[in-house]
């Protein structure tokens, strides 16, 4: 199996398409950067698609090529881990609109031979899912044993179950929601405006000078990063502690540790992420409202579905709070779907889904094993 060039880490494929986007545009061709782990069973029945979050990527359990850091979910995905690559064939692809090998604003528009920039069509979560479905066709995976995701990845998992119910046996939706709230949209708008207010953004045409709007993107990341944490977590980690100094400087340096931390987060981010991709993906998230796609009733999204669902929230997550997960569960119950839900305790806010959580491991492992015939 390992000789098949479609499988392994660091893969990419250019699919002819066209992919009909929700915005009405036909996208062609469609580039997808992806990785696979483990071995596809002869009957194809052990494939798990892991969906990444806003600024995530396909390197779920392999070293990131730009930062050299380990994969973003190595504690969940790998040999003997809850998503066990000794048992399952795990696929993770860079979402449409992103910047690590999949078609997005930074890739070349074949019609102009220049980067798309802001002429790249606006995309949706469902468009990301449709692109993933095309990738599965290419990989020879007809039906997913499971689709698993946290945050925006959870939205993709929900969208998968609603869009291709016959291709999804089970869905794990962690720290996520079936729609973006006004508060979610508001924070994203702050981020987008920070990028666009940077003079270096230049309407998105910054690629050829290789001089991207790093200051604006860093501010966007700093604001967003606060929403991934909890007040209690920030207080425990930083409090009002000063950064490498005894007293306040009566100036505007990063006096406080929390300032220094956020600046570091912002600067580290711009090295690995494209500003225009940030605009497009936050837009896709803001447009996400699964009920709206189904006549205003979320339960309709899951009517007649044979998919098993596992929904998990964290008690200190105020970005996608438990109430959002509960409304998903409510809809699943109304649709008669097989659903499990648990709110786990964690001091770490939204980021909890990426961090050490034995309870989450136990839930995901058990839920997946129950699907093995």
């Amino acid at each position: 199996m390992s000789v098949d060039p479609r499988y392994g880490t660091g893969r990419s494929v250019t699919l002819p398409g066209p992919l009909r986007l929700d915005g009405g545009v036909l996208l062609s061709p469609v580039d997808i950067g992806y990785e696979t782990y483990g071995t596809l069973a002869p009957d194809g029945g052990n494939a798990i698609l892991v969906c990444h979050a806003l600024t995530g990527d396909q390197h779920v359990a392999s070293e990131h090529p730009r930062t050299g850091k380990p994969g973003w979910w190595t504690r969940m995905v790998g040999p003997g881990k809850p998503i066990d690559t000794d048992r399952y064939f795990v696929i993770c692809s860079n979402v449409l609109g992103s910047c690590l090998g999949s078609s997005g604003p930074a890739t070349i528009n074949p019609a102009t031979a220049k980067p798309w920039g802001m002429s790249f069509p606006v995309i949706t979560i469902r468009d990301m899912v449709r692109a993933q479905a095309m990738l599965l066709d290419h990989l020879g995976v007809d039906k997913l044993f499971a689709v698993v995701g946290g945050s925006m990845g959870g939205m993709q998992a929900l969208s998968w179950a609603a869009t291709f119910p016959e291709r999804v046996a089970s869905a794990v939706v962690i720290a996520s929601a079936a729609r973006h709230s006004a508060q979610n949209i508001a924070f994203h708008e702050v981020g987008r405006q920070a990028v666009m207010a940077d003079p270096k953004w230049r309407g998105g045409d910054y690629y050829e000078d290789n001089d991207p709007p790093v200051a604006g993107l860093a501010v966007a990341r700093m604001a967003a990063h606060i929403t991934y944490l909890s007040e209690a977590g920030l207080t425990a980690k930083f409090g009002r502690k000063l950064q490498s100094r005894e007293t306040k400087t009566f100036g505007f340096d990063a006096d406080f540790q929390v300032e220094s931390y956020l600046r570091h987060q912002g600067l580290a981010f711009v090295d690995r992420f494209d500003a225009n991709s940030y605009l497009y993906i936050t837009r896709a998230l803001d447009y996400f409202d699964l009920a709206e796609e189904h006549g205003g009733l979320l339960a309709n999204a899951f009517k007649g579905a044979d998919t098993r669902f596992c929904v998990v929230s964290f008690d200190t997550d105020w970005l996608y709070p438990t109430s959002e997960s509960r409304s998903v569960v409510h809809a699943l119950n109304a649709a008669g779907a097989r659903a499990s839900f648990v709110e786990l305790k964690s001091p770490f806010g939204h980021d909890a889904f990426l961090l050490e959580s034995p309870e989450l491991d136990r839930v995901v492992r058990g839920f997946l094993q129950a699907g093995v015939a």
Binding site: N333, G336, R338, E343, E359
Partner: protein, 195 residues
């Protein structure tokens, strides 16, 4: 694994292949038994996150939630049986919970500790203190049992609400005891109800 006596009675009387909602399912012991021995399609509702994690970890479909507030989310007539074991006396509105059970399920199993058992009566009569017994082991200020109920109270409630009793079982320890004197001698009651 052996089930608690009231759960064993329920498990033995659920029709094979039916759809069951277990309200207050704990770690899913009854659900797992129903699934494994009677091919039941079982779903659960449980308040405690640790119990939910344990139940999901054994492959059961369990939603974390509260019988008092979250039963309203379930559609009418969506299950053959709704089960409420050892939970009725902990709810804020037992009568509404009961009505919800029979709205969601065609039948309902309800089990509860009998507060009129002679040992409870004796404790209150001679000791003058709130009873702490085998089935009611927690002191008054810490007990989750906020609506103590007796066999006769329960019979009166279902009669008042026009609910039919399809079966009843009474336990003293692990032994069954007769229906006639159940209010005095049963530590524990199990009722099968229908709309």
């Amino acid at each position: 694994m052996s089930l608690r006596p009231d759960l064993a009675i329920i498990a033995a009387n659920v029709a094979a292949g039916s759809r069951v909602l277990d309200v207050g399912c704990g770690d899913g012991a009854l659900m797992a038994a129903l699934r494994d021995t009677r091919q039941v399609d079982a779903r659960g509702l449980e308040l405690d996150a640790g119990d939910v994690a344990a139940a999901v970890g054994r492959g059961l479909s369990v939603v974390q939630g509260d019988a008092d507030t979250d039963l309203a989310d379930y559609p009418d007539n969506s299950f053959d049986y709704a089960i409420l074991s050892q939970t009725l006396q902990t709810t804020r509105h037992p009568d509404l919970v009961l009505e919800n059970l029979l709205r969601i399920g065609k039948h309902a199993f309800v089990s509860f500790p009998n507060f009129a058992h002679w040992r409870v009566r004796a404790s209150l009569l001679f000791g003058g203190r709130m009873p702490v017994t085998r089935l009611l082991p927690i002191a008054w200020y810490a007990t989750p049992n906020i609506h103590h109920v007796t066999v006769d109270d329960f019979r009166a409630l279902v009669q008042e609400r026009g609910i039919g009793i399809e079966g009843s079982w009474f336990l003293s320890g692990d032994q069954s005891c007769g229906s006639a004197m159940a209010n005095l001698f049963a530590e524990h009651a199990v009722f099968l109800l229908r709309r």
